[in-house]
């Protein structure tokens, strides 16, 4: 699963003067207030900031889960504003691997089935799906937990399954939202090391966190405050 590391930096994500406002009736919340971010293939980027700084909103915008109030977001040179909901889903499934703070595994599916699920939505045949999912779970040392339900796994194991699921469709970008937020320090470090390893394999990683211990694994850190980038 070694990926070639691009020597020539190729742009994969670009946020250009992006705003996201929420109209709360009596006031307008400026969650993201004019940010520019460019991420190239193979980058390991961390977005940090206290809660309410707009980093989660920024992540949702990058992951095409949300639509910007103003500004353009390019994912692999496609302006996602121009896509309808079904195309957005398709793009998310193919190009982005999500990792959530609360793991978000489907509780009724086993670890193996959870890892296979993103491939179901890409209509990949069962045999291939199963083979790929098994490889991924073996790769993160969960071969003995494949047929366990999420509730039978520890927090660290759940997050590793979630990482395997994020890798299922070989996405260009791994997008992780507070991936260590629900883990103790030791498990948190394991996950952070895993990101570093994935980065060395040439994957693009965007990490949203408030934990500087995790963020320092990244090559580049964007610090957000009140919806604005305050340093880079």
């Amino acid at each position: 699963m070694e990926r070639k590391i691009n020597t020539k930096k190729e742009k994969i994500i670009e946020l250009s003067d992006v705003y996201k406002y929420y109209d709360m009736g009596h006031e307008v919340v400026k969650a993201v207030d004019g940010i520019d971010i460019t991420i190239n293939k193979g980058d390991f980027v961390a977005i940090v900031g206290p809660s309410g700084s707009g980093k989660s909103t920024a992540m949702n915008l990058i992951g095409a889960l949300d639509i910007a109030t103003k500004g353009d977001i390019f994912l692999d040179n496609i302006n996602i504003k121009q896509l309808d909901e079904s195309h957005l889903s398709q793009i998310r499934g193919k190009k982005i691997g999500f990792i959530f703070q609360a793991f978000n595994l489907i509780p009724t599916l086993t670890a193996l089935e959870n890892v296979m699920l993103p491939m179901v939505f890409q209509r990949i045949p069962l045999y291939e799906r199963q083979k790929k999912a098994e490889e991924l779970l073996i790769g993160i040392g969960l071969e003995h937990r494949m047929n366990h339900l999420p509730k039978e796994l520890s927090g660290g194991e759940k997050q590793r399954v979630a990482v395997a699921r994020a890798l299922a469709n070989d996405p260009d970008v791994i997008l992780a939202d507070e991936p260590t937020g629900n883990l103790d320090t030791k498990r948190g470090k394991e996950i952070a090391d895993m990101f570093e390893r994935l980065s060395k394999e040439g994957r693009t990683i965007i990490l949203v966190t408030h934990d500087m211990n995790v963020a320092r694994h990244a090559d580049r850190i964007y610090q957000l405050k009140d919806g604005k980038i305050i340093n880079k």
Binding site: L65, S86, Q90, R92, P107, V120, F121, L126
Partner: protein
């Protein structure tokens, strides 16, 4: 892809076992009623039609009719009598007229007593043959009665069987009827008509003497010429009797029935019962469907985060729609399956109770593959239909909102 969605759906139903069961109860009560009713209804219709099939199509039955309301005896009914027989004999198109007596008598055998129907058999050859022919009577053992078989009887198959007098009655044995001894010379073949299976036949003279009857007739059977229209002759008989008895049209104290009329009357009643029960069953199915809708709504609310996650990892709106539609369809389908099983077993149970009671294969269960398949398809579609709106709402959830839950 659909296979995966089916697995997802079944997993989800299993996870919410109690709720799934409660939802399915609503469906399967209705389906049970429909399945048992339809499979029994056809059998019931066959059974009732069978009661009349022994009367051939060119035989008319004339009976006393009820004459309105009031306690018995408050209205004067002129009973059928020999004069009526003569009037009917004169009607154009009528070939043979046979007056019949059907009474209940006490029968003693093997120190046990029971009350049974006894019907008379005419002594005249042509009339006797007509009765045998139109009722489709034949002897299984021994022989049928002939014109000079005084002191002898023929038994219906149920009477001869062991369970009525704790001992089988064989041909050649004697039984006591109303204190008089009669020799059994024949046992009838099992008929589709259970009244015949439970009846005793004896010569008309014997029966009149035994019960001290004079000029008493319970019903009159008229056979018409082969090429005549039974309905037409029935009208002529009605007119002749009305004239003879001085009655106005519509105030007859007798009725003339063709076999077809009798069947259609019974079938009409049966249809009404079926429509009523099917109506009730349909209401219960609709209520069951609303249960499905309710369960799916709750399910969508509870699984918002799951829906959001699936959308984040690449599920299109249509994928989510299918997952939820299949799930609600499966709720209907499994409910239907249980309904089919319960309905079939209750139909089989009811028919065997009825058959035991009447002592013959009266009601058969008519459980067709087409019925089963269409009920299952119907239940699945019902689930899909009632799950449609919640599923659509699930598919339209914006991932960001769904994930925020």
């Amino acid at each position: 892809m659909f296979k995966d969605f089916f697995l997802l759906a079944i997993n989800n139903l299993r996870r919410r076992k109690l709720r799934s069961w409660l939802t399915m109860i609503g469906i399967f009560i209705g389906i049970t009623a429909v399945v048992s009713l339809i499979s029994l209804g056809q059998g019931l219709q066959t059974a009732i039609t069978g009661q009349f099939s022994t009367l051939s199509i060119n035989t008319l039955t004339i009976q006393n009719a009820g004459t309105g309301f009031g306690p018995p005896g408050s209205t004067v009914v002129e009973k059928l009598n020999q004069n009526d027989v003569e009037v009917i004999e004169k009607v154009n198109g009528v070939k043979i007229v046979v007056p019949r007596i059907v009474k209940v008598v006490r029968v003693d055998y093997n120190n046990a007593a029971s009350f049974k129907y006894v019907a008379d058999i005419p002594k005249e050859n042509d009339k006797r043959e007509m009765i045998y022919d139109s009722l489709n009577l034949d002897a299984e053992k021994g022989r049928l009665l002939e014109g000079n078989d005084y002191g002898k009887v023929v038994l219906g198959s149920n009477i001869a069987e062991g369970n009525q007098f704790e001992k089988k009655i064989e041909v050649g044995k004697s039984i006591i009827i109303q204190g008089e001894e009669f020799e059994v010379i024949g046992i009838l073949e099992k008929a589709s008509n259970f009244q015949i299976n439970d009846a005793i036949l004896m010569l008309n003279d014997d029966l009149e003497e035994l019960l001290g009857l004079e000029n008493e007739i319970d019903l009159i059977i008229a056979r018409i010429s082969d090429n005549e229209d039974p309905e037409e002759i029935a009208l002529r008989i009605e007119k002749a009797l009305r004239k003879d008895r001085n009655l106005e049209e519509g105030k007859e104290d007798f009725s003339v029935e063709t076999p077809l009329q009798a069947i259609s009357t019974v079938n009409q009643v049966l249809s009404i019962i079926q429509i009523v029960v099917v109506g009730i069953a349909l209401i219960s199915i609709i209520v069951g469907g609303i249960g499905v809708a309710n369960t799916m709504y709750t399910s969508v609310l509870e699984r918002k985060k799951e829906i959001g996650t699936m959308k984040a990892i690449g599920a299109k709106n249509s994928d989510i729609l299918w997952i939820f539609l299949i799930e609600s369809g499966m709720l209907g389908f499994i409910g239907g399956l249980i309904g089919v099983i319960l309905g079939a077993s209750s139909a089989i149970g009811l028919s065997s109770v009825a058959n035991n009671y009447f002592g013959s294969e009266i009601i058969t269960v008519n459980l067709s593959i087409i019925l089963i398949i269409s009920v299952l398809v119907f239940s699945f579609l019902l689930g899909v239909l009632f799950g449609a709106i919640p599923s659509y709402q699930a598919s339209k959830l914006r991932p960001i909102e769904a994930l925020r839950e």
